[in-house]
Symmetry: C2
Subunit: 189 residues, 2 copies
């Protein structure tokens, strides 16, 4: 994939009972996933939430680390967060990738559950795609069904059939990026 | 490997300038790494710190989730933390694995830096080992040199030569376990 963007989705996602909810942004998701996205040289990382107050919070975190005291103290954190932005929804994220890349992205999803309706895509196939893509991860109990169903591709689940299937979204992102790009350098360039 | 134990080391680890320090335990490391360890079916996860007050803190977290309100509310978290324990140092961790498995473990380390003195071991070789092993991850800026040098095996760095090499320990654990076991089930049994 020539330019991979990662979206961490806070709405629409599933709650414990399968209902559609909006989760709260956590500081650690911003940092941890920005570091993984930077280590695997992604083009961008979007923290997606419809709640304006939460976007303001993320912007404050980003400012602190980009220009504030954090940037002096831990420069490599500043570097990771430089490619992070906050957006209000999935459609905005798609349009933002299109604006930057001059071409609409393929939208890929991951899910610990089996997905109906959307085509499967292997890690190898995804890595070989020419053009931009937007890879979505759900917080809470995962992306809402309509997001999964409308995707252009569904990556394989990480531990199909495992007795325990509750990786954190931070771990799931790290593993997925490693499966896509491994220890090769510059694959996403 | 027939029984893999994971150790999250808070001492001796490196600080920013390469000095040896003791880091503070964070609640999120306990949870996130316990979930990854459980998902990949490890035999145990040890949070290692010489500071007694910190071990007491970890024990309180574990009790809350094992027997307390947390166990009712999020049963799968309870399941992840059931294999977590806190120990006061590396030697205690080695002895604890020996006590449980009837045999001293091989000690493996990971490092974002190149390691002198200890033998390299590939993910494939490590996965194929018969017998118990203790896989150590350093908090802070990584395991102290003497821990690396005394190891029985050093796993390959995750992104050798990458421009940005600052994955969180949570991400590094998740990626390492996936490289060892992939999406296969029961490899560690």
């Amino acid at each position: 994939v020539s330019a991979l963007y990662l979206g961490l989705v806070h709405h629409p996602v599933r709650g414990r009972a399968g209902e559609t909810i909006t989760t709260a942004v956590t500081n650690l998701d911003v940092h941890d996933i920005a570091r993984s996205a930077r280590a695997y040289d992604l083009a961008g990382y979007f923290v997606i939430t419809p709640i304006e107050a939460q976007r303001v919070l993320v912007e404050r975190i980003l400012e602190h680390w980009r220009d504030g005291a954090g940037a002096q103290r831990i420069p490599e954190r500043s570097e990771a967060l430089a490619r992070c932005a906050t957006l209000d929804g999935l459609e905005t994220a798609r349009r933002e990738v299109e604006r930057r890349e001059g071409r609409a992205p393929l939208v890929w999803v991951t899910s610990a559950r089996a997905v109906q309706g959307a085509p499967a895509i292997s890690y190898r196939e995804a890595a070989a795609v020419q053009g931009p893509a937007l890879l979505l991860f759900g917080t809470g109990h995962g992306l809402a069904s309509e997001v999964l169903e409308e995707a252009d591709g569904v990556l394989p689940p990480i531990r199909p059939g495992a007795a325990y299937n509750h990786l954190s979204v931070r771990a799931a992102v790290a593993i997925t990026l490693d499966r896509l790009f491994g220890d090769t350098i510059g694959d996403s360039d």
